[in-house]
Symmetry: C2
Subunit: 391 residues, 2 copies
Amino acid sequence: MFQEFIYDIGTKVYFGSGMLSHLGEEIKKYGNKVFFLYKGSYTKTMGIYDLVMQAAKEYNFEVVEFTKVQPNPRHTDVQEGADLCRRENCSVVLAVGGGSAIDSAKVIASGALSDVPVWDLVMGKVPVERSLPLITIPTVAATGSEMNSGAVISNLETKDKQSLRTPSQRPKATFLNPQFTYSVSKYQTACGSVDILCHTIETYFSSDNCMYMLDTFMEGLVRTVLKYAPVACSEPENDEARANLMWAAPWAINDFLRYDKNCNWTIHPIEHEISAYYDITHGLGLAIIMPRYLRHIVDEKSLPRFKRLGVNAFGVDAVLDDRAIAEETIRRIEEFCRDTMGLENHFSALGIDGKDFEEIAGKLTGEDGLRCGGYRTLSRSDIVSILTECL
Amino acid sequence: MFQEFIYDIGTKVYFGSGMLSHLGEEIKKYGNKVFFLYKGSYTKTMGIYDLVMQAAKEYNFEVVEFTKVQPNPRHTDVQEGADLCRRENCSVVLAVGGGSAIDSAKVIASGALSDVPVWDLVMGKVPVERSLPLITIPTVAATGSEMNSGAVISNLETKDKQSLRTPSQRPKATFLNPQFTYSVSKYQTACGSVDILCHTIETYFSSDNCMYMLDTFMEGLVRTVLKYAPVACSEPENDEARANLMWAAPWAINDFLRYDKNCNWTIHPIEHEISAYYDITHGLGLAIIMPRYLRHIVDEKSLPRFKRLGVNAFGVDAVLDDRAIAEETIRRIEEFCRDTMGLENHFSALGIDGKDFEEIAGKLTGEDGLRCGGYRTLSRSDIVSILTECL
């Protein structure tokens, strides 16, 4: 009744503030020349840059620096990185930053070992069979890219934002230091928290054939985000909050929760198109789309699942009727994103009007419609109406 | 505030009924001669034996068979296995069976590469630095040994039952097929389920500095056992129940839930001594000791934790006062073990009287008393009174 699966998550995780002392030994396992990609001045102000250079000295490896990374990472930058990495003959990639940095590093690690353009890899035209080993130091709790095999890259020319998942891109080691996230702004903390929440909820609603044990873990992740995201926003140096969010992020999306089921996400692909067209922050787009999408899939089949999520994770009163529980659950998700996290709740406030929605819906559906997690196959007009409700 | 940790759980898990087709390729990764330890006629009746032999033919590796395993595995049998494994120059160990088989295989895998008696390894007199790679096929959901690094071995001469944990003993690959557990008896299903429950509860009560996210996962594991253990007992071929229990077992004890805290168990060490003296089934001993132990640690400090566990995992009414919630939670645990699982609730019914309790308590405490998870350091007389309440 469950899907058979192979659980294979070998990422070694160093968790805590003193763990970067192991960085040199981890890098050295994989060679003598590291491609060091980092983003933002915080890599230097937080002392990570110096720690890398110190490890290079102590463990005697060369460092090739690369800093061309921007939000919604561009395939052109990634191509440049892959070319440099190949030319310099690096044997291991180290990424410091948020999801953009880590996703870029993954495709650079794959592209460096390939002789086709990286965009062909991202679009799946040529399969990725191997990648350079990757080590990551995330500086925000959000995408969970630090423990999974996926990367999302944007092509502004074709207005595509596409994800590439391949086992060889899963990081070998990751250093999670909650203190590195103390300086993450309230806005980015909110966007990252919504991303974790959305990963969990998309997986929760992917299929009705879920393993109960994994359902309970997903409900736990939702409770963790609801409890600690507001604390991290109001007390940025609260270690308990930052640590819980930092450990929740990879577990929401490292595959553990989705191995047992057919798991097609919907909110993320829709948001990726929105980001590709309007270059908005990923988590903000999710915050706007998620409640509208969820209202769209309320039906007899999804009601029991909404009920379980609402009662177990959001504390909705179990005595209400099922439809009222579903509505209240979605209302609380929307309230969390808009009021508790303080994020915009309408596309119009971001200057987005509806003129591209037909085109976007067309990109998402193709002939069959986008698969919507077993509950519903979305048609072009479904997507247009979801997006229109976001205006 | 949390303990720093290194998460390193590299066991590859093949989950499902058709996954043994990968057995040959997994074994072959590690060499050409496998030490094949199995227990019980079910290895043959369930067709596992034939699958191993077929893989040996197809992948061209030799098989050295060993079947000397009994419940509460004896150090003498393990010694014999290690000697044979070394003499035959095997390069990989395959274990089929329950916790006894897998634990024996772990110490055989370590002992084969060592020149000291295995009991010296178990007692920690000589540290284990390496072990042969181990692959496991558990046939019961219980000890979770299939994804962790620990093994528990008994010495009937000295009446010791001791556990050895060392990273090199963590299995490289594990095949979990819920169908293999269809034929597990109601009694063994009950004992295994209590073992999973107890692993979770001991970890939950190990410290008050737990990461909330991991608390929610533990509460989920408890809910999973409460939901599915009765189903597996009454409908032994219910795949949903068997699959949930089979996946819950390793996660209750693969270290994920305990990395963040000082985690000293108490019920298990006490039960190990009881098993060493009276050779009773491990899960049965736990079922008897667990509620008495928990009653013993109810105090102002543990009340909030009992409350969280009771409300979130056992559905105890949150409006009761804290002490009433703790008592009700323990009552439900006892009721689950005794009434729902149908296990004996008194040592006296197993022919155990109290005459050895002073000696047992002396073994457990030493000078400092047994560390009881941060809540309490148990004295000799504490242990004697817990055991006496079990009579």
